[in-house]
Subunit: 212 residues, 4 copies
DNA sequence: CATGAATGAGAATTCATTCAT
DNA sequence: AATGAATGAATTCTCATTCAT
């Protein structure tokens, strides 16, 4: 009995975890660069491997497919970002300030990592298979932050309780991401982080309880 | 020496304009269906042509490339939608109502045309070359509607004048489109048009002048 | 019983002769220009027809195929040249001078008709089907001139009788055509007609009876 | 922005030089056979690969394009022939004999390698891009042999010094090649090598200093 | 006579992926 | 652990040619 496809895949997944983490990162960083610059379809495995200074075949020791590499980029970077956010979050106790921080952090992260922004928002955001991947879970977790802060505000009685919390998250992420996409594709505005206060303020108006 | 490529392109552009509009539409509709269902990359010219009931070669009598077909979809549908919006707009005199209508129209258009939504938001929105195409101009024009209404509100003194009008447009479109993308990919919420009033209200809070 | 392919071809050949000679020439001249500039394979029927100011379909009223057009170019131009040569020949009685004239005429014809030279020597000379075509007969007839002059010289006792007359023709044509090809492709020498006397003289040395 | 095409080409050139010479030869020989029999345009990559017993894709690991294969045939065979000629040349000290040898060697090479003759004289001789290729340099070098012998004869005072040495080369090559082409296309004469002495003698008459 | 419209047939090339070493 | 070598599989696009009008 020869090993089935299923078997092979499982073998690979197991392998993947054993293999040197260092080289995985090397590949992810190479891939980020090329995907970010040329887009997913226009990128070849060879180019990624050239950047990562490994052979084409070696890439397949660490990833199962080109798409696996793509998805792993999101997993890797978002994972790292989540860690950072959690830490900062730990020191902020005011809900409004937490929201402000989240918006600021997102804007700055995108602005400081244009290649990643390009991959995440131009390629992954429209990928049907991504939402079914494991990597997506990490991204979803990251988006949870907004849901949580909103809920916190509601609980504290400073945010309106009549809004769907997922809708609120959609508004904020949609706002930010649309801005980033425009920045990436059209090149305008030149910088996006300066909009952090305006965006925060617009968001707050939408969700805060009006005081009279 | 040989101006071939230049020549050929010009020939094609000329051809495209002469050729029967009816068949162009037929192709666009076939393409919309397949692109919308399987995505751009996963779609072959042959599939489009099968849907459109023409031969592969015929497609190239009407379009210059697969991507030309893709972009033309946006041009065609957005163009049609703009016309409709303008007409409706004509009968609405209240600025707030105009904004409400725009949001509602967008949501309903996306909801009623999931295939188009898929092409526009999953494929085109992340396409670098699209923003440089002629088709993009039409899309940009359509987005202008939000800019215009906002400006109108500012002029009338009912909307805050301290916001960048393009940022306002970004918020609204980002909000809506993010919602649509989620709806397309995750399947939740099941319907998006019911959110029209909530969205409208959230948007208004952000941009209206507060009354005390 | 539907008409067989054979039938159709015969119909076309018949048609071809009826059809306006003027338009045939128009097409041949258009084709010469494009074939001559870009080469046979790189030329499309459309380009020829654009030059000839007719539609693609019309070309097929006058010629059976792209290759038919190509071969017809040779037939047309060589035919015309033969006529001219015969006329001039009529007034030259000295064999040596007749040979000189033939060499000169060939060189000048090629030099003055670079497009035709290109078609004849770069495209047709290497075409296996051409030698089996009717058009080739005309070209062969034109080459006969050299055979005839040589024979004349032999008969008059001024040329060596120990040479194969076809070999002599090969030498002269090979010499001239090789020079023309080099001129076409490499651009050197800049002009070829000035070589007429040297070539003539070299040829004569090879074939004339030595006087001692 | 994206140096793709440039990059890819450089990658390929590098690749080509590294890759096993043995397989390159295998492909060249397969290609020679098919090109020689059916002509360049009528030959498909698949046919070449079938002969060479490799997959279509593999061919592109060794050559950049169909045309690259074509040109490489000339480079390979002419290169080999040059080596042989140089060796023989080494043992011949008499200039006349050297010329005789060159003519004989050319005739025999063409006669013994009809497939190569076909490719070289029917396809390559009329190819505009070939003269700009690197492969052409090798062919040019091979033609130099005639220039050199002639020059040697001039220096020794046995050949006329009033002729352009390139014209002499043109005559000899034109003569031989025209003969070969006729042999290939028309099938006459049946053999060409027997003409070696006649050709040699005709050539010598043209270029030798007459003794009185 | 002329042609607009349609297409069959094809063919070169690309690239992710595999596997023996 | 790493990779050189090989390829299967796929797909866009081109173009000569036809034919109904």
């Amino acid at each position: 009995m020869s090993p089935t496809k299923q078997d092979k895949l499982q073998l690979k997944i197991a392998k993947k975890q054993e293999k040197s983490y260092q080289k995985q990162v090397q590949i992810i960083e190479g891939a980020l660069q090329v995907f970010g610059e040329k887009g997913y379809e226009a990128t070849t495995i060879s180019e990624i491997c050239k950047k990562a200074k490994i052979s084409d075949a070696t890439l397949y020791e660490y990833f199962n497919s080109k798409e696996d590499v793509l998805f792993s980029i999101a997993e890797y970077y978002t994972g790292a970002e989540i860690g950072k956010l959690k830490e900062i979050n730990h020191y902020i106790h005011n809900t409004r300030e937490r929201m402000r921080m989240l918006i600021q952090a997102h804007l700055e992260f995108y602005e400081n990592n244009p290649l990643y922004s390009s991959v995440a928002l131009l390629t992954l955001k429209g990928n049907r298979r991504f939402v079914q991947s494991d990597a997506y879970k990490v991204v979803k977790e990251s988006a949870r932050a907004f849901v949580d802060v909103y809920q916190e505000g509601v609980d504290k009685g400073i945010f309106r309780s009549d809004l769907d919390k997922y809708l609120v998250r959609n508004m904020i992420l949609g706002f930010i991401e649309h801005l980033v996409i425009q920045w990436l594709l059209v090149g305008r505005p030149e910088k996006i982080s300066p909009y952090r206060d305006t965006i925060f303020e617009m968001v707050m108006r939408s969700i805060e309880i009006e005081e009279n």
